[in-house]
Amino acid sequence: MTKETRTAIGFEEGRSSEAKWFNDLTRSRFAGPVTPHHRVLSRSVSPETLAVHAGTYEDPVTGAVGTPVFQTSTFLLDEASYTAFSDGTSRDVPIYTRYGNPSQWSVQEKIAALEGSRSALVTSSGMSAIASTVYALTNAGSHIISAYDAYGGTYNLLREDMPSAGREVTFVDPTDLAAIEAAVRPETQLLLFETLTNPLLKAPAIRRIAEIAKRANALLVVDNTFLTPVNMRPLDLGADVVVHSATKYLGGHSDLTAGAVVGRRKFLDRIWAQALRFGGTLEPLTAFLLERGLKTLPLRMRAHNENAREIARHLAGHPEIVAVHHPEIGGGRYADLESADYSGYGGMVSFEVRGGDEAALSFMKRLDIPYVATSLGGVESLVSMPGNTSHSSLTARQRTQIGIHPGLIRFSAGIENPRDLIRDLDHALGAPEEEGRR
């Protein structure tokens, strides 16, 4: 194989030996990294087609129709590798898998295409994606604004690690635009919000928050784990960078741990450098699993969206249910929802059962189909209580302030038949005498 096909498209154009000053240098930022063997499709192609085809490594030797698993930790050094070292362009040549690997490049290209962007990075977990992004895009001395009810891992990173890293964080209600605006300081560098929050499914106005960030010359990072690019593309709404726990819907089968970051290379190259120093590499084999899972993302999301909606609607009228949290059920929290920005609301629905935590625990035991487990976004339905899992470190008072009341259950609707899921829910809600089946 020649070096031209080993390196990223754009790498060769950036090699300049005749320069006399900076203006003679020829490297500009480009998309990718992808080699000429990676399938690059126009971002105007529909998500279903992008999900199947974007990024596939079309192996020139065997003609395999799927991306081979490049299960190697290192690559032969050649002149391109040495140039990459001396110019600082080692993201564009496979040198060492912690730096980059064609298996990662395939899945990165697929995720970038789905989010409507030019570049992406995959990492070993959602948290490694978030930590690398936050560290790379802020300086010691800067200020960050995020949500007090952000995903627990994100909240802990911001609350426990930022003070010693010299970053200050203000936590606000992500739906309170006035509070976000009021939190802005001259040194505010990053706003970090989620497209849909856990577990109450608050829907922050990403477009409005992007405007606040722009006015402050700050960057908006959006965690799109709960909605996925099928339901919302935050970059189109003004976000600068999107992060994912690919462990959830992107992988989709509860069989891998991975993260992703999407955006312009101006940011992604720096996040990549941070991630490789932190060591948050995605293994080639996991990259393969993630790529395979992503091929069905739009199909799965359609089922997740529908199932959660059906369940939410059904529970909203149920006498044993005190409250249902889902954008399609409406209520005051969703009064200003810009529904045109969403194609769907994902597979999550949260609800409070009558009788508090004890009733909720026995209700979960009576469920037959879903597994009682934390996490979400897999093909199988999962159910858990935020009060004794993701939000257990909060005080009872803090939980009440956020709106996590006793009896709250988080339901991650899988892609099973919704009639089966609803029948199962009804059964569990209506039959206290059958306690102890699971």
């Binding site: 030996s17 320069a19 000053w21 240098l25 300086n139 001395g141 200020h143």
Partner: protein
């Protein structure tokens, strides 16, 4: 990376600003405070690189020029000299890296002798003297801070919300010698030693991480503006003390660099700093003084600032360089990189 300098990163900026000239405007801020009880100090504010903010936190305790040559801290002029010499050396090493020149060392001594400036540059490890000579010509033309020293750069003055135009014409000769020796370490990192007894510790210089640095210290433009803000604040403190008023003064200095000038991405771009402005906040505890008295004091302080004069007055300087044969390679001091 050659010389640990990220040439690819700079190349990307060249192409970015050709596509989007608004990204070429780099803004820097420094804020100085002169307090009768807490002395003189200066902080940097957030910098803006096109649309990208870089909010780092650096503070330098500064010696008051009125207290004598040095009081265990650098003088405002040391900060400005650090800014100029470190910019020249970064330009030298960066420009050299773009043409594959490898450096062992690069040092520059910059001296202000009674308002006149002298330079001495030493470059180690480059076999061909012509290469160094050509690079230094480019530094004289394209180093933003060096050009700010040699060109006429207007400095605006404001007091409270009022502009005080035309205050930057006075020539200043403080009648003493202040000097720094700046040493390039790696990439965009440099170390500046204020010369003279008790002038405080070495000053770290670096580019922010948004511009290929590692946030090891303020960048050269920030040092120059820190020098300006601190000097004007020091003059304000001195003049008000002389009037028997013990006031706390806050001065912020801002300036814009068109990065297209350094990089020559746009041959028409102005290289030196532009829109340089000094804003003095009305002092606290100034009840006794009338508005016009304070305004006069602000004008006088500004006129007496040697750093303001350094920036605003054009002067013919040249980078003095000794070819390698005559230059002992400077010794590396441990523990700095």
């Amino acid at each position: 990376m050659r010389n640990s300098f990220n040439t690819a990163g700079f190349s990307e900026v060249v192409h970015e600003i050709r596509n989007d000239p608004a990204e070429a405007d780099f803004w820097y801020t420094a804020k100085a405070r002169s307090s009768p009880s807490r002395g003189l100090s200066v902080d940097i504010g957030p910098a803006l690189f096109g649309t990208i903010k870089s909010a780092r936190s650096f503070r330098v305790e500064v010696g008051d020029p009125a207290d004598g040559p040095c009081a265990d801290a650098p003088l405002p002029l040391h900060l400005a000299l650090t800014g100029i010499a470190s910019c020249a050396l970064t330009t030298l090493v960066g420009g050299g890296s773009s043409q594959n020149v490898v450096f062992d060392s690069a040092d520059m001594e910059l001296t202000c002798r009674d308002g006149a400036y002298e330079t001495r540059v030493a470059v180690g490890g480059v076999p061909e003297d012509k290469v160094v000579a050509d690079l230094l010509d480019q530094v004289e033309q394209f180093s933003p801070n060096y050009r700010t020293l040699t060109q006429h750069v207007p400095v605006a003055l404001g007091f409270g919300s009022r502009p005080l135009p035309g205050a930057d014409g006075a020539e200043v000769a403080a009648g003493r010698t202040v000097a720094c020796r700046v040493r390039w370490i790696s990439g965009t990192q440099l170390l500046s030693r204020p010369l003279g007894e008790g002038c405080g510790p070495d000053l770290r210089v670096d580019a922010p991480k948004q511009l290929t640095g590692v946030d090891w210290g303020p960048n050269p433009q920030e040092y120059l503006l820190m020098g300006l803000a601190a000097d004007v604040a020091a003059q304000l403190g001195r003049l008000s003390r002389a009037d028997g008023r013990y006031l706390t003064w806050e001065v912020s200095a801002t300036g814009r660099e068109d990065i297209g000038g350094l990089l020559q991405a746009d041959p028409a771009a102005v290289v030196h700093l532009q829109d340089v402005a000094c804003a003095v906040a009305p002092p606290r505890g100034a009840k006794a003084a009338s508005e016009s008295e304070l305004t006069e004091l602000v004008r006088t302080a500004f006129a007496h600032s040697e750093v303001r004069d350094l920036i605003s007055r054009a002067r013919s300087a040249g980078l003095a360089w000794q070819p390698q044969a005559d230059t002992p390679v400077p010794s590396q001091e441990p523990g700095c990189a």
